[in-house]
Amino acid sequence: MQKIKHFLRAINAENIKEWKIEISYKTDFIRTFIEPIVYLLPYFFYGLAVVGGRHSDYLKKLTGYSDIITYILLGYVLMGFLGTACWAMGMAIRKELWYGTLESVFVAPVPRWVYIAGMALHSTLHQGLIMIFQTIVIALSFKIVLNLKNIWVALIPLILMVLSLYGLGILIAGLTLLVKQGWTISEAVYTLLTVITPIAYPLSVMPDFLQKVSKLSPTTYGILGVRYFLIGEKIPFSIESVFIRLIISIFVLTIFGFSIFLTIDKKLRKTGTLSHY
């Protein structure tokens, strides 16, 4: 119990440290809230240009829902949490290496995963705030009405997706330790998952082999699950199976991510290349 308390304190210390660093660069901090809104606009405009209006009959045929703006918004807003795993957790160690503080942080009397967990906590809180802000601004600007009756139950697939992405984040952090120039790994995983996740389209429009790959990603179930509850999207599995698959991916990704991270960490400490640039 004492040990858990000790770890939790370290996780929170890391979380607070990150908030302090971010808030000290005020313009940058404000930008993190505005940028995701700007990021989404080309997807909206592209959709409007292709359809020639806001409602798509074909999308309705596929998903039971025709408003392309709401559909695209929900997909991309949730994908923000993928950034938590790929960038905040994955690049956490590389950032300390850049700043020259890696060794100081790593001599703290806690396991290294605690440090990554602190980054995950901070990033989830920050991303959560961004998500709320982004949704409110876009909902007001585009006059979107969401069915908030199901909001609490919609949080379940979201939370399960975020938990499984933590496993992925730990995995990327381990690989970053190994290859050093880790942004390529973060970016590659981010790009790959963005391609295979049905963010702004249903699974059925993807080629068969991509649909199969997509079914291996927690982001697929997270996004389809949330859209199922909030806009009643027709999904190709039962909602129970969405929950089960998400829970399985939490276990698989966490165990796999931790094993890789700990193996690489041990190997680098043995070879003395942990702080190599």
Binding site: E35, Y39, A49, T191, A200, Y201, M206
Partner: protein, 271 residues
Amino acid sequence: MSQKVIVIKEEVIKNFKILRAYWIEIVYWILSPLLWVLPLIFQGKALVGGLKSVAFEKLTGTSNYIAFVLIGAIISTYMFSSIWGVGNSLRWENYVGTLEFILNAPIHPIFIIIGKLISNTLQSTIFVVSQFLIVMLFLGVKFAFYKLLPILIGLVLLIMGLWGLGVGLSALTLLIKEAGGILHTVEFILYLFSPVRYPTNIHPITNFVSKFIPLTYALYIIRGTLLNIKINFWKNAFYLLVIDIILIPLGFFLFKKIYDNSRKKGTLGHY
């Protein structure tokens, strides 16, 4: 060979050596712009049920939205490279602790920046040509070589304008230090208001702002040539040239002003 040319050449070689050391980045920069297009293709398919859109044709002159976004993604490589490859280059030297060393070389740093501009342009061109080759090979797209000249003119004019932008941004990183945020903002503004992923004439505001961005005119020329869209080539080339004439001296002037000021204040190596 004059000292200036040697410095430029060495800077180009250095940047290629760094890129070769991180070879996975080469693969990444070639493939990722093509991968980023896939979600837009699926999105288009989900919205209209096919690979052509009549509404899209009314706005752009082509119903082929896939070709539209593919060309946008490939050519935008130059813009992102100018922002991050050149704009962030001095900050990067700062990170790796080599900024003072290169600035201490007995030559004006603008020649080092020119070396960075040339190496980034060469690298971007390798990426862009590889992307076009992939598209031609795997998607069976045919390319008529007589179209090469107008495309090259559009590209050269675009690259010149982006050089001005890159130099100006690199100066900004000397002034603001943690300028990653500003570079991100510039990237997002240019990305939002350029017709990279959507036709900017869909909204009056995006249409207005896009007229000040060189990528807009370059994309008009390149898409028009490749997709047989009716465009006024000379008018677009002229607008690009006007933007270049403004951006290039402005970028170099900003660099000189900020560099001299930072040296006077002694803040060059500040973190």
